[in-house]
Amino acid sequence: MKILVSVKRVIDYNAKVRVKADNSDVDLANVKMALNPFCEIAVEEAIRLKEAGVASEVVVVSIGPKTVQEQLRTALALGADRAIQIDTEQMPEPLNVAKLLAKVVEAEQPGLVILGKQSIDSDNNQTGQMLAALTGRPQGTFASAVKVEGDKAVVTREVDGGLRTVELALPAIVTTDLRLNEPRYAKLPDIMKAKKKPLEVKTPTDLGVELKQHIELLKVEAPAARQAGIKVDSVDALVDKLKNEAKVI
């Protein structure tokens, strides 16, 4: 079975996010970028399935300018077999991503597509679900456990109030939650080998997808600075404030 994993280049979770002076967007110039943590978990899961003999090939795909090749190389160093970059100037919005991925799925015919449930920059949590709809494949989102049994995938999902286990007929779509696994560190020899693994570049036109913009970014603002707290002199005063000022109880 082939597994397709989509990965996204995002601002490093350690980096400080700054808003551009004109509030038009987040300033990404010269900021450290990294593999989206949820995507890293998706790569790890795919590699584990390969190591367990369930999968025979792991293909990673990313969308964006040439710089996303860095993240593809990272995924290759972690153990993916080959990579596809879909070359676009901008990072497209979820529906466009899902459409592009749907075309890759059509071409590659993976038994399983694993995606991060969301990216830590835009936090949309939409692509996996849209891809499932576009390809007509069953979906198991927010996975904290994935088991492939014959032609089925058993996925434990983290839902409000507990865990829900679903059985999906393969081929299927899975999106990862944080607790699915703990990604490994890339090994030195594998970092070196990653340079030689195949990386194919395609354009949206090659895939027959026209990128359309449905969302307009109006303004980005930094969160308001936190106000200094106050001390209350009794529990009663605290309860009173929580009830009447904060209105949270």
Partner: protein, 592 residues
């Protein structure tokens, strides 16, 4: 306790702009290696250091290694970290492919080693000593011994140690008394060694000790010392560790710092003799040790950088969050806003960037020597390695004392409290000016072996190179201030060198009396030289509107701070060198 983050941008900038990494790899014929790969490797190393090794640093300080029935027990968590380190292939980085290494350039190994040393100095000593022992076998042992011992040492599955020092033989190794008696195909070793770093632990199934000892027919003094492999466990026919050898840690030292690094008293042959195998030829042990000395000494210099970087990061984090003082409008002030705190942070930063530049530049000289087209070129680069080594070891580690001192000082009273973690860096740094040759030994090596012995040829060639650069810098109006400072210090360097060659060197005592000031002067001069070179690159990039403007501007400002606050020390040092040697020894010994 702040978290460690690898200064990736600064390191890659120095590799690219100062070392010229891509061009170096090309020269060396390493088609597969370039800056891009180096960056991928450094990023992963930085991640491993920050996430796996750094969290164990403070635990290791509080709960250091202990000695029990089974030998030395390392700090909890270290074995798992070491296992992950080996599985990730980090020990293999610079070793030849033949024995499972990745054959990457020495300078990249240096950049990666900085990560381990910053993240956890005590831990980093184990792979460092293993590297040293592995190099010794690689360069001097027979093919047979190499085949037996190297693969698992290169991979890190077995660790290595260096057993030189004895109670009566420290800086003077001629006094070694450990004995080796031939018995069949091996030797029996008897004697005691002290200060053996990571001499025992439970992290790996075997440890390979390299031991200096005397054969029965050995001539007296340094010419009668041989080198032996003495494993903790003897190997069975499959090459797996089996029988326990007669080599044991009998005591652990209680130390000021690096508590997680077990410093062992090793006893060989308490029960009849430890089995050992001769490395290379008899009586060549010390010569073999010397071939590894440049690498080992530069590596300790790098530790000075590593611990300084960690101390700096922690000081910055504290200075940002520590609120002390109120403005007129009632808003609160973080101490990082106070000019004197800024001075301390700038001093730490400017020193560190210069130290890093010099460490990388010096270690790249070894790669250049290896890649040289002809013998004359190779000799030149090797000469530079020789010259830089005592400066890197001596100056970087001396600087680390001041930097970790400032790290504590920025914390104020909290710096004196162990809980904050800054004091650990101050204590851990203290060994660095001592082991692998004290500062005094480094300075003597510089003035004696590296300058007087060749009548100043090597140092003058370096000074000429700095001179050329200074002239070139002067033609750039943006760099006028830096160029002016640098040329002044260069003149001091020339005067000091002339004094040494013409006056000081004529006596037995004068060079030794002011050798440390001389070495420090050269350190500041070289530090300013590399800082200005990086500032010049940064300035050119700014002019071309390339790169991260804030980062590049910071490079220029930091170099300026170095030239204005640290480089002027060269003037005082020169005065001491020219006039101060006599008062050092004027007082009769009886007056002390």
């Amino acid at each position: 306790m702040s978290e460690y983050q690898h200064p990736y941008k600064d390191v890659t900038f120095a590799l690219r702009e100062l070392v010229g990494f891509d061009q170096l790899c090309e020269q060396a014929g390493l088609d597969e290696v370039n800056g891009e790969l180096a960056e991928a490797i450094l990023e992963e190393a930085g991640k491993f250091g920050a996430e796996v090794l750094a969290p164990l640093n403070q635990i290791g300080d509080r709960e250091g290694a202990t000695l029990g029935e089974q030998g030395v027990q390392e700090t909890a968590g270290f074995a798992e970290a070491y296992q992950a380190f080996v599985e990730s292939g980090w020990p293999t980085l610079t070793f030849p492919g033949q024995f499972g290494g990745q054959a990457l350039p020495n300078v990249l190994g240096t950049a990666v080693n900085e990560v381990w040393q910053s993240a956890n100095l005590s831990y980093s000593l184990c792979p460092l000593l293993t590297q040293g022992a592995t190099e010794a076998i690689l360069h001097h042992a027979s093919d047979e011994l190499k085949a037996i011992w190297l693969p698992k040492m290169v991979s890190g599955e077995w660790t290595g140690t260096m057993n030189l020092t004895e109670p009566g033989a420290g800086s003077d190794l001629a006094a070694i008394t450990t004995r080796a008696v031939p018995e069949g195909d091996h030797y029996l070793i008897t004697g005691q060694k002290i200060f053996i770093t990571w001499g025992d632990h439970q992290m790996t199934p075997n440890t390979v000790h390299l031991v200096l000892a005397r054969l029965p027919d050995a001539p007296a003094g340094v010419k009668g010392i041989s080198l032996f492999i003495v494993p903790k466990f003897l190997l069975d026919e499959q090459g797996e560790p089996s029988v326990r050898n007669d080599a044991h840690c009998v005591s652990l030292e209680h130390k000021l710092g690096i508590h997680a690094s077990p410093t062992c008293v090793m006893s060989f042959g308490d029960n009849g003799g430890a089995v050992g195998y001769l490395v290379g030829e008899p009586h060549q042990g010390l010569a073999y040790m010397f071939t590894m000395m440049n690498h080992a000494r530069q590596a300790v210099g790098l530790q000075g950088l590593g611990i300084s970087e960690r101390s700096y990061q922690q000081a910055v984090a504290y200075a940002r969050e520590r609120i002390q003082g109120t403005r007129r409008d009632g808003s609160k002030i973080a101490i990082i806003e106070f000019p004197d705190v800024r001075r301390m942070l700038m001093q730490m930063r400017a020193s560190i960037e210069a130290m890093r530049g010099l460490a990388l530049l010096a270690s790249a000289e070894a790669d250049r020597a290896k890649a040289a087209g002809d013998e004359a070129q190779a000799r030149q680069h090797n000469e530079r390695v020789e010259l830089f080594t005592p400066i890197v070891k001596g100056w970087l580690t001396e600087m680390s004392q001041e930097i970790t001192y400032l790290g504590v000082q920025v914390h104020g009273g909290m710096g004196f409290i162990e809980e904050t973690g800054s004091a650990q860096h101050y204590r851990d740094a203290r060994i660095l000016t001592i082991y692998e040759g004290t500062t005094g030994i480094q300075a003597l090596d510089l003035v004696g072996r590296k300058i007087l012995r060749n009548q100043g040829v090597a140092i003058n060639s370096l000074l000429d190179e700095i001179d050329d650069f200074t002239r070139q810098l002067a033609s750039d109006p943006e760099m006028a201030l830096l160029s002016e400072r640098l040329s002044k210090a260069l003149e001091y360097g020339r005067q000091a060198t002339r004094w040494l060659l013409e006056t000081g060197g004529q006596t037995d005592w004068a060079p030794g009396a002011v050798s440390v000031p001389f070495m420090m002067l050269m350190g500041y001069l070289c530090g300013a030289w590399v800082s200005c070179r990086m500032a010049q690159s940064a300035s050119a990039q700014i002019a071309a509107s390339e790169g991260d403007i804030e980062f590049l501007q910071a490079k220029v400002i930091t170099a300026r701070f170095f030239c204005e606050h640290l480089l002027p020390r060269t003037s005082g040092l020169l005065e001491t060198i020219l006039n101060g040697s006599e008062s050092v020894i004027a007082l009769p010994e009886s007056q002390f």
